[in-house]
């Protein structure tokens, strides 16, 4: 630990500067002392009642500096899309601060990340690391069907490095068969259970692409495995999240897709969900459009269109709806995969569950979904969220895959505002913590990495913090009325809106919208209060009437 601290100390060229002025949009200017610590940029006016700025270095996406005389301006652009300005007098101080921030915000070593140093200032009521264990989730499944078993074939992560140690597979397939299937699927990601639809017993599975290559290689065990999930005489759907030509091209690199001839009981559907740097580009362009100050309507609309962000939202949501439709309306099982099965595949499987399963629309259920379908399922959070929309460096593995998923959830929430137990703030919170956090939940790229990093022992889980009454209160939707039905969102362009809560969050004052939200809460709270009052009056009355026989004696 000491070693680490020394390492930070080396990076911090100037730990403290006085007389720094902070400009934030829609907030009063603050003048105070700027301090750099190993993990935070802190600006404090040292006055009561003035909000301090605590910014995680890991939240900083990029910085820019410029000088007007000896007055330095540092623009700090954050991964949560906030942009703040610091004014520092003195060229040397400013340069030192800038280079220190740059060094501290680009530390690559996971073990130096803040979650390993963070000590909670709150009492952990329920340890989030134990809240969503796969064996518990499986118990629910067992109560509905006996066709599946939990396999430990991947317990040392050797068969599939991106899978968790426990996966649900068809009961009749032993681990030896699974090992064979794993060699036929990208990254060893053999088909596993993602969702069981209680209503009709249909299932959704996910996997990596089959490694058919140009020769049309096949794997009998793979065919048998997925066929085992079909009811006699029924067909299933394979949803390939890539356009057909992309899937074709994948053959040349050893990948491919299920050939009709080998999978006669399955119908393959290709959908074109974008991936990797295309998505990252889309995010960068969208954020650029939102920050354009030109005030020209034409320019805004054409930039919004050119960013393709809304197109991506529509495509992902449509594919998820399609998967849900196959399961619920067609009574067919579904297998979803793209290339690796760690990005677009998870967007589709998780959104389909939100549509189909009311349980996923509760606070706990949604956390469990993120845990199951994203963290356990091996979405490489650390790689994807290393940089956000303001990064100057060339994107490597960055992509706003999870943010797009959250955006799609927000779209459904907008269309069914009473069907979710959580509110928009919860989605925004997940976005923030996926990119920079004091909690260990989104560290690492897979269950295997998280195990190696000993996160449960060394860091605090985001869920431990979120699942406390005072936080939950802020994140709960006052309009919630459990809705046990499947909810089918509209995917018409008119119905899909720009997620203002994330993309315009720092560009406009949200005062009036916040007031409206408070007003809404007030209306509902007041109603509840009165209900309680009426009930207690009724009880009081009943009591009075029984207690005093005089009232009843004629």
């Amino acid at each position: 630990m000491l070693l680490y601290i020394m390492e930070f100390a080396e990076l911090i060229k100037t730990p403290r500067v006085d007389g720094v002025v902070l400009h934030r949009p829609f907030m009063p200017t603050v003048e105070g002392t700027l301090c750099l610590t190993g993990h935070h940029l802190i600006l404090s006016s040292r006055q009561d009642n003035t909000e301090e700025l605590w910014l995680l270095h890991s939240n900083i996406d990029s910085i820019e500096k410029r000088f007007v005389g000896s007055l330095g301006h540092i623009t700090v652009k954050c991964k949560d899309l906030r942009v703040i300005q610091l004014e520092i007098t003195g060229m040397e101080e400013c340069l030192n601060i800038a280079s220190s921030i740059e060094a501290l915000s680009t530390l690559d070593l996971v073990s130096l990340m803040y979650p390993f140093f963070y000590r909670p200032m709150f009492e952990v009521i329920e340890d989030g690391w134990n809240s969503f264990l796969p064996q518990n989730a499986f118990k629910d499944l067992e109560s509905m069907t006996d066709e599946w078993r939990l396999s430990e074939v991947n317990k040392d992560f050797s068969l599939c490095p991106s899978y968790p140690p426990l996966v649900a597979v068809p009961k009749d397939f032993d681990d030896e068969t699974l090992k064979k299937v794993a060699t036929f699927r990208h990254g060893g990601r053999f088909p596993v259970l993602s969702y069981y639809h209680k209503k009709n017993g249909m299932v959704m599975m996910r996997a990596g692409q089959p490694l058919t290559g140009t020769n049309g290689r096949r794997c009998k065990e793979d065919e048998k495995l997925i066929n085992a999930t079909l009811r006699p005489g029924k067909r299933g759907y394979i949803i390939d999240t890539r356009a057909i030509n992309v899937a074709q091209q994948a053959k040349a690199r050893g990948g491919g897709f299920e050939l009709e001839a080998n999978y006669p009981q399955w119908r393959r559907i290709h959908k074109a969900i974008e991936r990797y740097n295309v998505l990252q580009e889309s995010l960068i362009k969208l954020v650029e459009a939102c920050n354009d100050q030109s005030h020209s309507m034409d320019r805004w609309l054409s930039k919004l269109e050119a960013s393709n962000w809304q197109t991506n939202v529509k495509e992902i949501l449509t594919t998820a709806c399609l998967a849900a439709q196959c399961i619920d309306r067609e009574g067919a099982s579904v297998l979803v995969h793209g290339t690796e099965g760690t990005d677009s595949t998870l967007q589709v499987t998780s959104l389909a569950q939100i549509i189909l399963d009311p349980g996923c629309r509760t606070v706990k259920g949604f956390q469990s979904l993120v845990e199951r379908e994203w963290l356990q399922a091996g979405h490489p959070f650390q790689q994807r969220c290393a940089q956000s929309a303001f990064s100057n460096s060339k994107p490597r593995h960055e992509a706003p895959v999870f943010l797009l998923f959250l955006d799609c959830v927000w779209q459904i929430l907008r269309q069914f505002p009473c069907s979710f137990e959580f509110n928009e703030s919860f989605l925004v919170l997940l976005f923030e913590h996926a990119y920079a956090s004091q909690f260990g939940t989104f560290l690492g790229n897979s269950a295997a990495e998280r195990a190696r990093l000993c996160l449960p022992e060394k860091t605090v889980s985001l869920w431990s913090w979120v699942n406390r009454p005072q936080e939950l209160e802020r994140l709960t939707n006052p309009l919630y009325e459990p809705n046990s039905l499947v909810i089918w969102p509209s995917v018409a362009p008119q119905s899909l809106l720009l997620w203002e809560g994330v993309f315009l969050r720092w560009n406009r004052s949200s005062k009036c919208l916040d007031e409206a939200y408070e007003e809404m809460v007030h209306i509902i709270e007041y109603n509840k209060e009165l209900q309680t009052k009426v009930n207690s009056l009724r009880r009081q009355l009943a009591q009075l009437e029984t207690e005093d026989p005089l009232l009843h004696t004629p």
């Binding site: 609309l301 054409s302 269109e305 069914f416 008119q494 007003e519 209306i523 009075l544």
Partner: protein
């Protein structure tokens, strides 16, 4: 009736706009006032009523093997796609509807035959509901600075102006008349809004007939008088709402704009709102985008951009903000004009008023505003909304843009308006429906000639009677957001596409649960609870008092006993009306066409009770097109929400099969 060639056609198909594979079969009726489609399915009686006056165009398309398509576009943005099996029948319906939907004289309009069950006394009272004079006295007028001028009695000075007008105290009749001669259509500068706190006023007029160099002393005096009516300010703004180029072009025709050199202490400004023709084409383009079947996101956004619609809305709002700020922050009076001063000028005056004065954000206030800036100041409703056959170049959605500006503001300030979106949409519907007399004709003089107040009903009292449907549950009169000037954002991203209006009848596109309806239901329940707790507390106090009396009584005196009479507190015993949870919204929800039509062969979903998802029907008026409107709403919704996985196992020939391209 003589125009109806065919009163009834059977076996007509009504196609869903989005997915043509979904269709309903039924009988089509033509009546003197409505087209009615009655679905002939056992058990359900589903009717779609369309008022002839709401029909914008009727097109007969090329016949197909399944029949002859008839496409009806309505002014409230409803689109109906019928298939009539026999070409001759389609032809007859087409001709009849074309004639019925284009009245040749005012007397044919629906308002003159619309007779709800209201007696004559009540009908006359309807017209007393709004009083513009009351609004002017609310502003503090007449005052020592502004007076009511009789100069336009009998519409002698300007035949498109109202009879009652407020002018500066110092403006003498010769000045007014002289000024009017120097203004298009005699529309001299008159007061639209007066801010009694700082004496700043909004005045309106038409363009001056200045040409390249003409001057008019009286007009200059008139502006001087306006300036002097604001003792706190030493200059005034003259805002020409036209693009500069248009104004310059007008000079060649002997019209134009004010020369700053000729008028003392004016600051002249163009704000660049396009003319009625640009607006008409823009809305047309936008509607084409709304009507696209399964557009991609790019199709939609590109189409929206190239229509220019939101750009125009922004221009109107920008102009309104400029004026509102001049009045509220600088305390400077403003004279607004465009060419004739009845389109852009009305828009900008109204938007500024809504921004400035919380009163115009209330239900009654907004009605007053339309009555003031539009109806009385001679916005040419009958021409712009094509109530009767006429020059198509006169048609333009100027009033739609006012409603949209207000809607955009409502999105930014959810607590600031007493009314809701439904209120705006209902008003929009009736600008065009001709069901009420309010908007018939092009100015006050015409309405008097048509004896509108004697022969028709008024929309305003109808809306007021049904105001619970139009109330915003988030509105509180004392809320900080409700007070004072609205500081609206006009960043382009603050403008949204108004699907509630332009895709009004595509129910599948709208949120399936309405927060507003939910809150309204809660508020209704709260009200009941309040009554109950009030009664309850009162009752318990009484019981306690009685018990105490009894105890005291029995202790000291006799054994006299008292009993509460049964039922004296029945209201409290009744449990409050249980509020149906969650609007029960999910029930009716069925998937859209996510597949491009490749999945076939699954059973058709039974029809869900979609109507519960829809805005509450407001059919208090019998035989009103609005009540019929709500019928058609539920009808259409049934259709559009039906499962795309229809029983019809043939593939849709024109569906996009690209997605399903098995290798």
């Amino acid at each position: 009736m003589e125009h109806i060639r065919l009163p009834k056609v059977e076996n007509v198909k009504l196609l869903d706009r989005i997915s043509h594979r979904r269709r309903r079969v039924g009988t089509l009726y033509l009546t003197a006032t409505h087209t009615i489609f009655v679905e002939s399915e056992a058990g359900v009686r589903n009717e779609t009523w369309v008022l002839h006056s709401l029909v914008c165009s009727v097109d007969k398309l090329a016949a197909t093997p399944s029949g002859c398509p008839l496409l009806i576009h309505c002014k409230n943005f409803q689109v109906l796609h019928f298939i009539i099996s026999k070409e001759q029948e389609c032809h007859d319906i087409h001709l009849s509807l074309q004639r019925l939907s284009q009245p040749e004289s005012y007397d044919e309009l629906y308002c003159f035959s619309y007779k709800p069950n209201v007696d004559e006394k009540e009908r006359r009272q309807e017209w007393d509901f709004l009083d513009l004079k009351a609004d002017y006295s609310r502003m503090g007028l007449p005052s020592s600075l502004w007076k009511l001028s009789p100069v336009n009695q009998h519409y002698k000075v300007s035949d498109t102006y109202p009879a009652d007008l407020f002018v500066p105290e110092s403006a003498t009749p010769p000045v007014i008349v002289g000024s009017s001669k120097f203004r298009s259509r005699g529309r001299f500068p008159a007061l639209s809004y007066y801010c009694k706190d700082n004496h700043a006023a909004i005045c309106r007029s038409s363009q001056p007939l200045s040409g390249f160099s003409a001057r008019c002393l009286e007009d200059e005096q008139m502006l001087e008088a306006i300036l002097r009516s604001n003792p706190c300010s030493d200059f005034m703004y003259v805002v020409d709402t036209r693009p500069k180029l248009n104004a310059i072009a007008n000079r060649a025709a002997g019209k134009g704009y004010e020369n700053e050199d000729n008028y003392s202490n004016i600051k002249f400004q163009f704000v660049g709102i396009e003319n009625i023709h640009v607006m008409r084409n823009s809305q047309q383009k936008m509607l084409e985008v709304c009507e696209l079947r399964s557009p991609s996101m790019s199709d939609f956004l590109e189409g929206l951009e190239s229509s220019g619609w939101l750009k125009h809305i922004k221009a109107v709002l920008d102009a309104g903000i400029f004026i509102a700020k001049a009045v509220a922050e600088e305390g400077v009076s403003v004279l607004i004009h465009c060419s004739d001063g009845w389109d852009r000028t009305s828009q900008v005056c109204s938007v500024a008023c809504v921004l400035l004065d919380p009163y115009y954000r209330t239900l009654r206030g907004f009605m007053v505003l339309i009555e003031k800036d539009w109806v009385s100041f001679g916005h040419k409703f009958s021409h712009r909304c094509k109530h009767v056959v006429g020059d198509p170049k006169e048609v333009s959605p100027i009033i739609d843009q006012l409603l949209e500006c207000v809607w955009q503001l409502m999105e930014q300030f959810p607590c600031a308006f007493e009314f809701n979106e439904r209120f705006l949409i209902t008003i929009h519907n009736h600008f065009y429906s001709c069901q009420f007399g309010n908007f018939i004709g092009n100015n006050q003089r015409e309405r008097i000639e048509l004896r509108v107040h004697e022969r028709t009903h008024s929309l305003w009292s109808y809306l007021w009677a049904n105001r619970t449907d139009y109330t915003n549950p988030l509105y509180r009169p004392n809320h900080s957001q409700t007070q004072g000037l609205l500081r609206a954002s006009t960043s382009p991203y603050s403008f949204k596409f108004w699907k509630g209006l332009y895709n009004r009848f595509d129910h599948g596109m709208h949120p399936r649960q309405s927060v507003e309806d939910y809150l309204r239901a809660i508020q209704e329940e709260t009200q009941q609870l309040e009554e109950h707790t009030g009664e309850g507390l009162h009752y318990i106090r009484e019981v306690i008092l009685i018990l105490w009396l009894i105890t005291v009584h029995s202790y000291y005196k006799s054994k006299e006993k008292k009993k509460i009479p049964p039922g004296c507190f029945s209201a409290f015993d009744k449990s409050p009306t249980v509020w149906a949870p969650g609007n029960n919204l999910g029930l009716a929800n069925t998937p859209q066409d996510y597949t491009g039509g490749f999945i076939t062969g699954s059973p058709c979903q039974p029809k869900g009770p979609d109507s519960i998802l829809l805005p509450k029907s407001t059919n208090q008026i019998s035989d009103a097109s609005f009540s019929n409107g709500s019928d058609q709403e539920s009808g259409i919704a049934d259709l559009s929400c039906r499962s795309p996985l229809s029983e019809d196992s043939t593939r849709d020939p024109d569906s996009d099969e690209a997605a399903y391209s098995a290798a």
